[in-house]
Protein backbone atom coordinates (compact mmCIF):
# COMPACT_ATOMS: atom_id res chain seq x y z
CA UNK A 1 0.00 0.00 0.00
CA UNK A 2 1.37 3.38 -1.05
CA UNK A 3 0.41 6.59 0.71
CA UNK A 4 0.05 9.69 -1.44
CA UNK A 5 -0.40 13.32 -0.41
CA UNK A 6 -2.12 15.39 -3.09
CA UNK A 7 -2.59 19.20 -3.19
CA UNK A 8 -5.60 20.89 -1.64
CA UNK A 9 -7.31 21.62 -4.94
CA UNK A 10 -7.08 18.01 -6.04
CA UNK A 11 -8.41 16.79 -2.69
CA UNK A 12 -11.39 19.05 -3.27
CA UNK A 13 -11.86 17.70 -6.77
CA UNK A 14 -11.60 14.09 -5.63
CA UNK A 15 -13.68 14.78 -2.51
CA UNK A 16 -11.07 13.31 -0.15
CA UNK A 17 -9.37 14.58 2.97
CA UNK A 18 -5.97 13.60 4.26
CA UNK A 19 -3.74 11.12 2.53
CA UNK A 20 -4.80 8.76 -0.24
CA UNK A 21 -3.90 5.10 0.15
CA UNK A 22 -3.44 3.04 -2.99
CA UNK A 23 -2.71 -0.57 -3.81
CA UNK A 24 0.13 -0.50 -6.31
CA UNK A 25 1.67 -3.51 -8.00
CA UNK A 26 5.26 -4.27 -7.07
CA UNK A 27 7.70 -2.81 -7.84
CA UNK A 28 5.98 0.50 -7.07
CA UNK A 29 6.86 3.20 -9.59
CA UNK A 30 5.62 6.74 -10.21
CA UNK A 31 3.79 5.45 -13.26
CA UNK A 32 2.13 2.72 -11.21
CA UNK A 33 1.13 5.14 -8.47
CA UNK A 34 -0.37 7.65 -10.92
CA UNK A 35 -2.26 4.93 -12.74
CA UNK A 36 -3.68 3.69 -9.45
CA UNK A 37 -4.52 7.25 -8.41
CA UNK A 38 -6.37 7.96 -11.66
CA UNK A 39 -8.17 4.63 -11.59
CA UNK A 40 -9.45 5.31 -8.07
CA UNK A 41 -10.17 8.98 -8.74
CA UNK A 42 -10.81 9.41 -12.47
CA UNK A 43 -11.73 13.05 -11.93
CA UNK A 44 -8.00 13.58 -11.42
CA UNK A 45 -7.13 12.39 -14.92
CA UNK A 46 -5.18 15.13 -16.63
CA UNK A 47 -4.57 17.13 -13.46
CA UNK A 48 -1.20 15.62 -12.52
CA UNK A 49 0.01 14.42 -15.92
CA UNK A 50 -1.11 15.18 -19.44
CA UNK A 51 -3.77 12.78 -20.65
CA UNK A 52 -2.29 12.51 -24.12
CA UNK A 53 1.44 12.38 -23.46
CA UNK A 54 1.53 11.06 -19.91
CA UNK A 55 4.05 13.77 -19.03
CA UNK A 56 4.02 15.48 -15.64
CA UNK A 57 2.28 18.85 -15.79
CA UNK A 58 4.87 21.65 -15.61
CA UNK A 59 3.81 23.02 -12.23
CA UNK A 60 3.53 19.66 -10.48
CA UNK A 61 6.45 18.10 -8.59
CA UNK A 62 6.95 14.71 -6.96
CA UNK A 63 8.90 14.24 -3.73
CA UNK A 64 9.84 10.91 -2.18
CA UNK A 65 11.83 10.53 1.06
CA UNK A 66 12.95 14.16 0.90
CA UNK A 67 14.21 13.80 -2.67
CA UNK A 68 12.87 15.42 -5.82
CA UNK A 69 11.59 12.69 -8.11
CA UNK A 70 9.98 15.06 -10.61
CA UNK A 71 12.40 14.30 -13.39
CA UNK A 72 13.07 10.66 -12.61
CA UNK A 73 11.91 7.99 -15.03
CA UNK A 74 8.26 7.07 -14.34
CA UNK A 75 9.36 3.43 -14.56
CA UNK A 76 12.04 3.68 -11.86
CA UNK A 77 11.17 1.78 -8.65
CA UNK A 78 10.32 4.15 -5.82
CA UNK A 79 12.24 3.99 -2.51
CA UNK A 80 11.34 1.09 -0.25
CA UNK A 81 9.85 3.40 2.37
CA UNK A 82 7.41 4.73 -0.23
CA UNK A 83 6.60 1.28 -1.57
CA UNK A 84 5.79 -0.12 1.88
CA UNK A 85 3.86 2.94 3.08
CA UNK A 86 6.33 4.04 5.73
CA UNK A 87 6.64 7.42 4.00
CA UNK A 88 4.11 9.16 1.73
CA UNK A 89 4.76 10.18 -1.85
CA UNK A 90 4.20 13.92 -2.09
CA UNK A 91 2.46 15.39 -5.16
CA UNK A 92 3.11 19.11 -4.86
CA UNK A 93 1.80 22.12 -6.75
CA UNK A 94 4.52 24.68 -7.42
CA UNK A 95 4.43 27.69 -5.14
CA UNK A 96 3.56 30.46 -7.59
CA UNK A 97 0.80 32.81 -8.57
CA UNK A 98 -1.79 34.52 -6.43
Amino acid sequence: MVRVVIPYHLKMLAKVSGEVELDVASPATLKGVLEALEARYPMLCGTVRDQSTGKRRPMIRFFACEEDWSNESPEKPLPEKIANGAEPLLVVGAIAGG
Binding site: P7, Y8, H9, L10, M12, L13, E38, A39, R40, Y41, P42, M43, L44, C45, G46, T47, V48, D50, Q51, S52, R57, M59, I60, G93, A94, A96, G97
Partner: protein
Protein backbone atom coordinates in the same frame (compact mmCIF):
# COMPACT_ATOMS: atom_id res chain seq x y z
CA UNK B 1 -43.08 36.75 -12.22
CA UNK B 2 -39.89 36.05 -14.13
CA UNK B 3 -36.63 35.47 -12.31
CA UNK B 4 -33.10 35.97 -13.45
CA UNK B 5 -29.98 33.97 -12.69
CA UNK B 6 -26.56 35.49 -13.30
CA UNK B 7 -23.63 33.10 -13.65
CA UNK B 8 -20.32 34.65 -12.67
CA UNK B 9 -16.93 33.08 -13.34
CA UNK B 10 -14.00 34.48 -11.36
CA UNK B 11 -10.33 33.86 -10.72
CA UNK B 12 -11.20 31.96 -7.55
CA UNK B 13 -14.50 30.23 -8.15
CA UNK B 14 -18.01 30.59 -9.54
CA UNK B 15 -20.94 32.52 -8.10
CA UNK B 16 -24.64 32.36 -8.88
CA UNK B 17 -26.66 35.55 -8.40
CA UNK B 18 -30.45 35.35 -8.42
CA UNK B 19 -33.25 37.88 -8.32
CA UNK B 20 -36.85 38.34 -9.28
CA UNK B 21 -37.82 40.19 -12.43
CA UNK B 22 -37.44 43.58 -10.77
CA UNK B 23 -33.71 42.85 -10.45
CA UNK B 24 -33.28 45.00 -7.36
CA UNK B 25 -32.70 42.45 -4.57
CA UNK B 26 -30.17 39.72 -5.14
CA UNK B 27 -29.07 36.50 -3.52
CA UNK B 28 -25.42 35.52 -3.88
CA UNK B 29 -24.53 31.84 -3.86
CA UNK B 30 -20.94 30.60 -3.90
CA UNK B 31 -18.11 30.17 -4.28
CA UNK B 32 -18.50 27.00 -6.27
CA UNK B 33 -15.19 25.31 -7.15
CA UNK B 34 -13.44 27.55 -4.60
CA UNK B 35 -9.90 28.43 -5.48
CA UNK B 36 -10.16 27.44 -9.14
CA UNK B 37 -10.30 29.76 -12.12
CA UNK B 38 -13.73 29.59 -13.70
CA UNK B 39 -13.30 31.01 -17.17
CA UNK B 40 -16.91 30.69 -18.23
CA UNK B 41 -20.29 29.25 -17.29
CA UNK B 42 -23.25 29.15 -19.60
CA UNK B 43 -26.68 27.54 -19.48
CA UNK B 44 -28.51 25.76 -22.24
CA UNK B 45 -31.28 27.71 -23.92
CA UNK B 46 -33.18 24.42 -24.24
CA UNK B 47 -32.88 23.31 -20.61
CA UNK B 48 -32.26 26.25 -18.25
CA UNK B 49 -31.14 23.94 -15.45
CA UNK B 50 -28.35 22.55 -17.61
CA UNK B 51 -25.25 24.65 -17.00
CA UNK B 52 -21.76 24.00 -18.32
CA UNK B 53 -18.67 25.39 -16.58
CA UNK B 54 -15.02 25.61 -17.51
CA UNK B 55 -12.87 25.05 -14.41
CA UNK B 56 -9.17 25.56 -14.86
CA UNK B 57 -5.87 25.83 -13.08
CA UNK B 58 -2.38 26.57 -14.34
CA UNK B 59 -1.27 23.77 -12.02
CA UNK B 60 -3.87 21.09 -12.61
CA UNK B 61 -5.29 21.81 -16.05
CA UNK B 62 -8.79 21.71 -17.43
CA UNK B 63 -11.95 20.35 -15.80
CA UNK B 64 -15.41 20.47 -17.36
CA UNK B 65 -18.24 20.67 -14.85
CA UNK B 66 -21.96 20.32 -15.48
CA UNK B 67 -25.02 21.04 -13.41
CA UNK B 68 -28.42 19.56 -14.19
CA UNK B 69 -30.24 21.41 -11.42
CA UNK B 70 -29.54 25.06 -12.09
CA UNK B 71 -26.20 25.22 -10.29
CA UNK B 72 -27.16 23.57 -6.99
CA UNK B 73 -24.96 20.53 -7.61
CA UNK B 74 -22.21 19.84 -10.11
CA UNK B 75 -20.45 16.86 -11.57
CA UNK B 76 -17.87 16.10 -14.19
CA UNK B 77 -19.90 14.61 -17.02
CA UNK B 78 -17.14 12.12 -17.85
CA UNK B 79 -17.40 10.64 -14.35
CA UNK B 80 -21.11 10.61 -13.47
CA UNK B 81 -21.85 10.11 -9.81
CA UNK B 82 -22.77 6.52 -8.96
CA UNK B 83 -21.42 5.04 -12.16
CA UNK B 84 -18.27 2.89 -12.42
CA UNK B 85 -15.21 5.10 -12.60
CA UNK B 86 -13.42 2.90 -15.10
CA UNK B 87 -14.31 1.36 -18.42
CA UNK B 88 -14.79 -2.43 -18.66
CA UNK B 89 -11.19 -2.58 -19.86
CA UNK B 90 -10.08 -0.90 -16.64
CA UNK B 91 -9.20 2.49 -18.10
CA UNK B 92 -10.22 5.59 -16.18
CA UNK B 93 -13.01 7.68 -17.64
CA UNK B 94 -12.80 11.46 -17.14
CA UNK B 95 -13.07 11.92 -20.87
CA UNK B 96 -14.78 15.23 -20.17
CA UNK B 97 -11.41 16.75 -19.27
CA UNK B 98 -9.74 15.48 -22.41
CA UNK B 99 -9.21 17.93 -25.25
CA UNK B 100 -6.99 16.39 -27.89
CA UNK B 101 -6.31 18.19 -31.14
CA UNK B 102 -7.26 16.27 -34.23
CA UNK B 103 -4.01 15.74 -36.10
CA UNK B 104 -5.25 12.66 -37.89
CA UNK B 105 -5.04 12.01 -41.58
CA UNK B 106 -8.79 11.48 -41.43
CA UNK B 107 -9.33 15.17 -40.78
CA UNK B 108 -7.65 15.80 -44.08
CA UNK B 109 -5.45 18.50 -42.66
CA UNK B 110 -3.21 17.26 -39.84
CA UNK B 111 -2.03 20.71 -38.85
CA UNK B 112 0.26 20.68 -35.84
CA UNK B 113 2.03 24.06 -35.63
CA UNK B 114 1.28 27.78 -35.58
CA UNK B 115 3.34 30.96 -35.55
CA UNK B 116 5.26 31.59 -32.33
CA UNK B 117 6.44 34.90 -30.85
CA UNK B 118 9.90 34.50 -32.36
CA UNK B 119 8.60 33.85 -35.86
CA UNK B 120 9.17 30.09 -35.73
CA UNK B 121 6.46 27.45 -35.94
CA UNK B 122 5.28 26.09 -32.58
CA UNK B 123 3.23 23.00 -31.74
CA UNK B 124 -0.41 23.47 -30.80
CA UNK B 125 -0.68 22.95 -27.02
CA UNK B 126 -4.00 22.75 -25.22
CA UNK B 127 -4.16 25.07 -22.20
CA UNK B 128 -7.76 25.82 -21.26
CA UNK B 129 -11.37 26.29 -22.33
CA UNK B 130 -12.12 29.98 -22.60
CA UNK B 131 -15.74 29.84 -23.69
CA UNK B 132 -18.60 27.32 -23.70
CA UNK B 133 -21.49 27.85 -26.09
CA UNK B 134 -24.44 25.48 -25.69
CA UNK B 135 -26.43 24.56 -28.80
CA UNK B 136 -29.64 26.49 -29.35
CA UNK B 137 -31.59 23.27 -29.95
CA UNK B 138 -30.01 20.39 -28.02
CA UNK B 139 -29.03 20.51 -24.34
CA UNK B 140 -26.42 17.79 -24.84
CA UNK B 141 -24.58 19.63 -27.60
CA UNK B 142 -22.10 22.29 -26.56
CA UNK B 143 -19.18 23.99 -28.26
CA UNK B 144 -15.90 24.91 -26.56
CA UNK B 145 -13.51 27.63 -27.63
CA UNK B 146 -10.05 26.77 -26.36
CA UNK B 147 -6.47 28.00 -26.07
CA UNK B 148 -4.39 27.26 -28.17
CA UNK B 149 -7.12 28.37 -30.51
CA UNK B 150 -9.44 25.66 -31.70
CA UNK B 151 -13.09 24.71 -31.46
CA UNK B 152 -14.35 21.50 -29.91
CA UNK B 153 -17.85 20.03 -29.78
CA UNK B 154 -19.51 17.63 -27.42
CA UNK B 155 -22.77 15.94 -28.36
CA UNK B 156 -23.09 13.89 -25.16
CA UNK B 157 -23.51 16.56 -22.54
CA UNK B 158 -19.82 17.30 -22.15
CA UNK B 159 -18.72 13.71 -21.59
CA UNK B 160 -16.40 13.69 -24.58
CA UNK B 161 -15.00 16.35 -26.88
CA UNK B 162 -13.97 16.28 -30.51
CA UNK B 163 -12.26 19.01 -32.42
CA UNK B 164 -13.85 20.70 -35.41
CA UNK B 165 -10.50 20.48 -37.12
CA UNK B 166 -11.53 22.32 -40.26
CA UNK B 167 -11.08 25.61 -38.41
CA UNK B 168 -7.41 25.13 -37.55
CA UNK B 169 -6.88 23.33 -40.82
CA UNK B 170 -8.58 25.62 -43.32
CA UNK B 171 -5.28 27.12 -44.45
CA UNK B 172 -4.31 30.18 -42.42
CA UNK B 173 -3.60 28.28 -39.17
CA UNK B 174 0.19 28.35 -39.53
CA UNK B 175 -0.05 32.17 -39.55
CA UNK B 176 -2.01 32.46 -36.29
CA UNK B 177 0.01 33.89 -33.45
CA UNK B 178 -0.77 34.32 -29.75
CA UNK B 179 -1.29 37.78 -28.33
CA UNK B 180 -0.08 38.74 -24.88
CA UNK B 181 -3.11 37.04 -23.33
CA UNK B 182 -2.61 33.79 -25.20
CA UNK B 183 -4.07 32.41 -28.42
CA UNK B 184 -7.62 31.76 -27.36
CA UNK B 185 -10.85 31.16 -29.22
CA UNK B 186 -13.09 33.33 -27.06
CA UNK B 187 -16.25 34.12 -29.01
CA UNK B 188 -18.73 31.67 -30.53
CA UNK B 189 -21.93 32.99 -32.09
CA UNK B 190 -24.54 30.60 -33.50
CA UNK B 191 -26.81 32.10 -36.14
CA UNK B 192 -30.28 31.73 -34.58
CA UNK B 193 -31.87 31.49 -38.03
CA UNK B 194 -29.42 28.95 -39.43
CA UNK B 195 -27.67 26.82 -36.84
CA UNK B 196 -25.17 25.50 -39.37
CA UNK B 197 -23.79 29.00 -39.60
CA UNK B 198 -21.45 30.06 -36.82
CA UNK B 199 -18.98 32.85 -36.22
CA UNK B 200 -15.91 32.59 -34.00
CA UNK B 201 -13.21 35.03 -32.98
CA UNK B 202 -9.63 34.30 -31.98
CA UNK B 203 -6.93 36.42 -30.38
CA UNK B 204 -4.80 37.17 -32.32
CA UNK B 205 -6.01 35.65 -35.56
CA UNK B 206 -9.37 37.28 -36.26
CA UNK B 207 -12.90 36.15 -37.16
CA UNK B 208 -13.94 33.02 -39.00
CA UNK B 209 -17.28 31.74 -40.31
CA UNK B 210 -18.67 28.32 -41.09
CA UNK B 211 -21.80 27.64 -43.14
CA UNK B 212 -21.89 23.88 -42.59
CA UNK B 213 -21.88 23.33 -38.84
CA UNK B 214 -18.13 23.59 -38.41
CA UNK B 215 -16.69 21.39 -41.16
CA UNK B 216 -15.37 24.20 -43.32
CA UNK B 217 -14.32 27.69 -42.30
CA UNK B 218 -13.16 30.91 -43.92
CA UNK B 219 -11.53 34.03 -42.49
CA UNK B 220 -13.82 37.07 -42.44
CA UNK B 221 -11.54 39.99 -41.64
CA UNK B 222 -11.78 42.27 -44.66
CA UNK B 223 -11.91 45.87 -43.50
CA UNK B 224 -10.07 45.28 -40.25
CA UNK B 225 -6.95 47.38 -40.01
CA UNK B 226 -4.31 46.80 -37.33
CA UNK B 227 -1.33 49.18 -37.69
CA UNK B 228 0.61 47.26 -35.03
CA UNK B 229 1.02 44.10 -37.16
CA UNK B 230 3.40 43.75 -40.13
CA UNK B 231 0.60 43.87 -42.73
CA UNK B 232 -2.14 46.08 -41.29
CA UNK B 233 -4.74 44.66 -43.70
CA UNK B 234 -3.69 41.02 -43.43
CA UNK B 235 -6.23 38.24 -43.95
CA UNK B 236 -5.49 36.98 -40.41
CA UNK B 237 -3.53 38.26 -37.43
CA UNK B 238 -6.00 40.80 -36.06
CA UNK B 239 -6.59 40.85 -32.33
CA UNK B 240 -10.37 40.64 -32.18
CA UNK B 241 -11.53 40.98 -28.58
CA UNK B 242 -15.22 40.17 -28.94
CA UNK B 243 -18.05 39.88 -31.45
CA UNK B 244 -21.81 40.14 -30.92
CA UNK B 245 -25.05 39.95 -32.87
CA UNK B 246 -28.78 40.41 -32.36
CA UNK B 247 -30.87 37.30 -32.88
CA UNK B 248 -33.28 39.06 -35.25
CA UNK B 249 -30.53 40.26 -37.56
CA UNK B 250 -27.66 37.76 -37.69
CA UNK B 251 -26.01 39.32 -40.74
CA UNK B 252 -25.15 42.37 -38.67
CA UNK B 253 -22.11 41.76 -36.49
CA UNK B 254 -20.48 44.11 -34.03
CA UNK B 255 -16.86 43.80 -32.95
CA UNK B 256 -14.66 45.23 -30.26
CA UNK B 257 -11.19 44.89 -31.71
CA UNK B 258 -7.97 45.52 -29.79
CA UNK B 259 -8.41 49.07 -31.02
CA UNK B 260 -11.53 50.01 -33.04
CA UNK B 261 -15.20 49.20 -32.70
CA UNK B 262 -16.31 47.63 -35.97
CA UNK B 263 -19.51 46.59 -37.71
CA UNK B 264 -20.38 44.28 -40.57
CA UNK B 265 -23.71 44.24 -42.41
CA UNK B 266 -22.96 41.15 -44.49
CA UNK B 267 -22.15 38.39 -42.02
CA UNK B 268 -18.54 39.44 -41.62
CA UNK B 269 -17.57 39.62 -45.30
CA UNK B 270 -16.80 43.32 -44.91
CA UNK B 271 -16.21 45.42 -41.81
CA UNK B 272 -16.26 49.16 -41.24
CA UNK B 273 -15.39 51.24 -38.23
CA UNK B 274 -18.13 52.65 -35.97
CA UNK B 275 -15.96 53.96 -33.13
CA UNK B 276 -17.32 57.45 -33.83
CA UNK B 277 -17.16 59.73 -30.81
CA UNK B 278 -15.99 57.20 -28.21
CA UNK B 279 -13.36 58.65 -25.88
CA UNK B 280 -11.16 55.66 -26.73
CA UNK B 281 -11.97 52.70 -28.93
CA UNK B 282 -9.83 50.21 -27.04
CA UNK B 283 -11.77 47.73 -24.95
CA UNK B 284 -12.78 44.13 -24.54
CA UNK B 285 -16.55 43.41 -24.44
CA UNK B 286 -19.33 44.41 -26.79
CA UNK B 287 -23.01 43.59 -26.36
CA UNK B 288 -26.26 44.17 -28.25
CA UNK B 289 -29.51 45.17 -26.53
CA UNK B 290 -32.03 42.32 -26.35
CA UNK B 291 -34.87 44.23 -28.04
CA UNK B 292 -33.17 46.97 -30.05
CA UNK B 293 -30.80 45.56 -32.71
CA UNK B 294 -29.15 48.94 -33.21
CA UNK B 295 -28.45 49.53 -29.53
CA UNK B 296 -24.92 48.46 -28.65
CA UNK B 297 -22.89 48.63 -25.43
CA UNK B 298 -19.11 48.87 -25.02
CA UNK B 299 -16.85 49.67 -22.08
CA UNK B 300 -13.97 51.85 -23.32
CA UNK B 301 -10.59 51.25 -21.73
CA UNK B 302 -7.81 53.81 -21.82
CA UNK B 303 -5.34 51.97 -24.05
CA UNK B 304 -3.54 48.72 -24.73
CA UNK B 305 -0.99 49.76 -22.11
CA UNK B 306 -3.46 51.13 -19.56
CA UNK B 307 -6.18 48.56 -18.97
CA UNK B 308 -8.50 50.79 -16.95
CA UNK B 309 -11.19 53.33 -17.79
CA UNK B 310 -10.17 56.80 -18.97
CA UNK B 311 -9.86 59.38 -16.16
CA UNK B 312 -10.70 56.79 -13.50
CA UNK B 313 -14.39 56.97 -14.51
CA UNK B 314 -16.21 53.72 -15.17
CA UNK B 315 -18.53 54.41 -18.09
CA UNK B 316 -20.56 52.07 -20.25
CA UNK B 317 -21.08 53.67 -23.66
CA UNK B 318 -24.32 53.04 -25.50
CA UNK B 319 -25.05 53.65 -29.13
CA UNK B 320 -28.68 53.60 -30.26
CA UNK B 321 -27.74 54.07 -33.89
CA UNK B 322 -25.71 50.93 -34.51
CA UNK B 323 -22.45 52.72 -33.79
CA UNK B 324 -20.71 56.06 -34.38
CA UNK B 325 -22.89 58.05 -31.97
CA UNK B 326 -22.18 56.99 -28.40
CA UNK B 327 -23.43 58.25 -25.04
CA UNK B 328 -21.85 57.54 -21.65
CA UNK B 329 -24.00 55.72 -19.09
CA UNK B 330 -22.68 56.67 -15.66
CA UNK B 331 -25.51 56.75 -13.12
CA UNK B 332 -24.56 54.41 -10.27
CA UNK B 333 -21.06 53.72 -11.59
CA UNK B 334 -17.94 55.10 -9.89
CA UNK B 335 -16.86 58.37 -11.49
CA UNK B 336 -13.58 58.82 -9.69
CA UNK B 337 -10.61 56.66 -8.72
CA UNK B 338 -11.84 53.62 -10.62
CA UNK B 339 -9.08 51.56 -12.24
CA UNK B 340 -10.69 48.22 -12.97
CA UNK B 341 -10.99 46.44 -16.30
CA UNK B 342 -13.97 44.63 -17.85
CA UNK B 343 -12.92 41.46 -19.65
CA UNK B 344 -14.31 40.19 -22.94
CA UNK B 345 -16.71 37.57 -21.58
CA UNK B 346 -17.84 39.68 -18.62
CA UNK B 347 -20.89 41.45 -20.07
CA UNK B 348 -24.33 40.19 -20.96
CA UNK B 349 -27.95 41.28 -21.41
CA UNK B 350 -31.21 39.68 -20.34
CA UNK B 351 -34.36 39.70 -22.44
CA UNK B 352 -36.79 41.05 -19.87
CA UNK B 353 -38.53 44.35 -20.49
CA UNK B 354 -36.78 46.68 -19.86
CA UNK B 355 -33.65 44.93 -20.96
CA UNK B 356 -31.18 44.16 -18.19
CA UNK B 357 -27.48 44.76 -18.73
CA UNK B 358 -24.73 43.24 -16.58
CA UNK B 359 -20.97 43.38 -16.35
CA UNK B 360 -18.24 42.23 -14.00
CA UNK B 361 -14.91 43.87 -13.29
CA UNK B 362 -11.40 42.77 -12.45
CA UNK B 363 -12.02 44.47 -9.09
CA UNK B 364 -14.70 41.92 -8.26
CA UNK B 365 -17.80 44.05 -8.73
CA UNK B 366 -20.78 42.82 -10.70
CA UNK B 367 -22.95 45.72 -11.86
CA UNK B 368 -26.48 45.38 -13.12
CA UNK B 369 -28.86 47.74 -14.87
CA UNK B 370 -32.57 46.93 -14.98
CA UNK B 371 -33.33 49.78 -17.37
CA UNK B 372 -31.22 49.26 -20.45
CA UNK B 373 -28.13 50.90 -19.03
CA UNK B 374 -29.72 54.15 -17.78
CA UNK B 375 -28.78 53.39 -14.16
CA UNK B 376 -26.60 50.85 -12.41
CA UNK B 377 -26.28 49.09 -9.09
CA UNK B 378 -23.51 46.91 -7.73
CA UNK B 379 -25.13 43.51 -7.23
CA UNK B 380 -22.01 42.38 -5.38
CA UNK B 381 -18.80 44.29 -4.79
CA UNK B 382 -15.99 42.15 -3.50
CA UNK B 383 -15.72 38.97 -5.51
CA UNK B 384 -12.42 37.78 -6.96
CA UNK B 385 -11.57 39.25 -10.37
CA UNK B 386 -14.51 38.55 -12.68
CA UNK B 387 -13.75 36.60 -15.86
CA UNK B 388 -17.23 36.02 -17.23
CA UNK B 389 -20.87 36.96 -16.69
CA UNK B 390 -23.92 35.29 -18.24
CA UNK B 391 -27.60 35.73 -17.44
CA UNK B 392 -30.67 33.53 -17.75
CA UNK B 393 -34.34 34.42 -17.51
CA UNK B 394 -36.34 31.82 -15.61
CA UNK B 395 -40.07 31.32 -15.53
Amino acid sequence: MSRVRVLVGTRKGAFVLTSDGKRQKWTVDGPHFAGWEIYHLKASAVDPDRIYASQNSSWFGQIIQRSDDGGKTWHQPGTPAGEPTTTPEGFPKAESNKFVYDASEASGRPLTTHLWYDGTQHPWEFKRVWHLEPSLTDANTVYAGVEDAAMFRSTDGGQSWHELAGLRGHGTGPNWQPGAGGMGLHSILIDPKNHERMFVAISAAGCFRTEDGGKNWKPINRGLRSPYIPDPDAEVGHCVHRIALHSSRPDVLFMQKHWDVMRSDDGGDNWYEVSGDLPTDFGFPIEVHAHEPDTVFVVPITSDSLHYPPDGKLRVYRSRTGGNDWEPMTRGLPQENCYVNVLRDATCVDSLDPCGVYFGTTGGQVYGSADGGESWNAIVRDLPAVLSVEVQELA
